[in-house]
């Protein structure tokens, strides 16, 4: 079913919207949450929360791109759960590449610095400047947290090429953040 029609069903408060969303995006969402939490049961709970969040948010919101919207909601819910599990020291087995995110940040960069540079706007500006292939690989890794091998398989690249591309893009973002490099 077309996304537009599913959104319309949400607006009509037609519960079939949930079934259609589940049918279409469950696999994608479970993949995102499982990459973050390393637990299928936790991922399933996150997907349940995502459906609930969609039901509560649409309307009034009317996503123009339902797929991306669902992905974003699922990711945010899974991250919130990871945050909680981490605080409870229960996230030892989670496999998010936190070290790679550290590499993105310039030395001494704090949470306050992230706010100062308006990280989300900066990130989107940075993504805009990337070549599409580079951007896709970058987001597959850092938005969807997909394993390198999986990205390589889907993108028809060698793993070493993916790793190399990720390394270079992290370095570029780091430079971008420090203001040393504004054009790509």
């Amino acid at each position: 079913m077309e996304d537009e029609k599913i959104v319309g069903m949400f607006f009509e408060r037609d519960e079939q919207a949930l079934c259609e969303t589940e049918k279409k995006y469950r696999g994608l969402c479970l993949g995102i949450a499982k990459n973050i939490l390393n637990s299928l049961s936790d991922a399933e709970e996150c997907f349940s929360d995502t459906l609930m969040a969609l039901w509560n948010a649409i309307p009034p919101e009317r996503p123009s791109d339902l797929k991306a919207y669902v992905c974003r909601v699922e990711r945010n819910i899974a991250m919130t759960r990871l945050d909680y599990l981490t605080a409870q020291k229960r996230a030892r087995q989670c496999e998010v590449p936190i070290g790679e995110f550290e590499e993105i940040l310039p030395d001494g960069f704090t949470e306050e610095a992230l706010r100062r540079v308006e990280f989300e706007a900066t990130l989107n500006g940075f993504l805009e400047k990337l070549a599409p292939e580079q951007r896709k690989v970058f987001l597959r890794r850092y938005f969807f947290f997909d394993p390198v091998a999986e990205i390589a398989e889907d993108m028809k690249m060698s793993e070493s090429k993916v790793k190399s591309m990720l390394f270079r893009t992290r370095k570029k973002l780091r430079s971008y953040l420090t203001g040393k490099e504004h054009g790509l």
């Binding site: 479970l30 349940s48 991306a68 945010n76 992230l114 989107n124």
Partner: protein, 380 residues
């Protein structure tokens, strides 16, 4: 976690604000992600069923028919026994007496209601007798209802004749059950429908063409009054598939569509009684009134708060029940220790309300007091 790790973690979260066009572009490269992808689904999450229900009081529903059969409540008790085993509910937790508090009914078959919809709006009506002829091929009827202020459970029967449902479980199934999608709606004055609960009705028994199902909801979105409708959709089972790498995936396999609905009249079944706090309790500086319902513990704040604040209380507060014999049982929503005994199965959070759903229906009369996050709550 040091400052740099904290900042990296925050950056990782902020990647969630990536513009949708970029997300979509990257998602399009994922193999077969649109229909299950690498992780195929299981059945719908139970937590969603509880979570969709926001937070409000609901009265019980009723069918306009007399108690003509027995057995529905026994099936419901059996279903609760299964859930208690799944969730490892402690033996000490006093269970509500379902057979005493629920109501055995035999509703007319779905089609009968559809054809005689005036029946349920009359102030006085005669029970509609049910016989073999009225429960025809493909039809459904309710056989019992168990209601609280915040939950609605029922058992139902399906006449499978003509639906093409295999006698045994199809190949690839492991749990031995069929499920039916069902939705409970409130009917507005203008006939508009508003969904308040979603069920996976679980097959409990089969006798020839008659299959018995039990459906549980641990939270309803808002109060029912006047007419309600239960709709019945797909009947399905969980199919396990092993891929060439030896990995199993689970998928929902639909075998037929029921496509029936039953209209109900509200207010005829008394819900199981709740108990209430004698005074407000202040938990993390928020003042709540408290309702102890057999299905849930509901904290209602005096005013709206940030969702995160209430979510934090929901996730991290220890809930303690002190029984009349002095036994103390406790649970924390976000304690996911494998195999631990559970009192709480889920719940929901709104801007002024937190609802902890119990893992089974609780006999509230056997509860001496409740503590939430260390705050004692006296019950009237």
């Amino acid at each position: 976690m040091n400052d740099k790790e904290r900042a990296a973690f925050e950056a990782m979260k902020l990647f969630g604000k990536t513009e949708e066009r970029f997300i979509s572009e990257a998602a399009s490269t994922k193999a077969a992600c649109s229909d299950g992808g690498r992780e195929r689904s299981t059945m719908k999450g139970k937590k969603f069923l509880t979570g969709l229900a926001a937070a409000a009081v609901i009265t019980a529903l009723a069918c306009s028919a007399a108690a003509l059969t027995v057995g529905g409540l026994a099936s419901m008790r059996e279903r609760y026994n299964e859930l208690e085993t799944e969730l490892n509910v402690p033996d000490e937790l006093p269970r509500a007496d379902i057979e005493k508090n629920g109501v055995e009914i035999t509703s007319p078959a779905a089609d009968e209601y559809a054809k005689n919809s005036d029946d349920f709006t009359e102030d006085e009506h005669e029970p509609v007798p049910v016989n073999e002829d009225e429960f025809g091929p493909g039809e459904v009827r309710l056989t019992s209802v168990v209601a609280t202020n915040h939950s609605f459970d029922f058992t139902m029967e399906l006449n499978t004749e003509g639906l093409g449902i295999p006698d045994g479980m199809p190949e690839g199934n492991k749990d031995g059950s069929y499920y039916i999608d069902a939705f409970l709606y409130l009917l507005g004055d203008d006939g508009e429908r508003k969904v308040v609960a979603i069920f996976d009705c679980k097959n409990m028994a089969r006798d020839g063409n008659i299959m018995t199902f039990a459906a549980n909801s641990t939270g309803l979105a808002e109060a029912a009054s006047g007419g309600c409708v239960i709709t019945f959709g797909d009947i399905w089972f969980i199919k396990y598939t092993e891929n060439e790498d030896g990995e199993f995936s689970k998928d929902r396999e639909v075998v037929a569509n029921i496509g029936r609905e039953i209209e109900l009249n509200a207010d005829e079944f008394p819900p199981m009684e709740s108990r209430y706090s004698t005074e407000n309790a202040t938990i993390r500086e928020i003042s709540f009134s408290v309702e102890l319902c057999p299905s849930s513990l509901i904290l209602t704040a005096d005013e709206n708060h940030e969702l995160d604040e209430l979510m934090d209380i929901f996730n991290t507060s220890r809930l303690e029940l002190t029984l009349k014999d002095g036994t103390v049982l406790s649970d924390m929503r976000a304690d996911f220790t494998p195999g631990k005994q559970r009192l709480i199965s889920g719940g929901a959070v709104g801007e002024d309300r937190i609802r902890f759903d119990f893992a089974t229906l609780v006999d509230v009369d056997e509860i001496e007091s409740v503590r939430v996050d260390g705050v004692e709550i006296a019950l009237g």
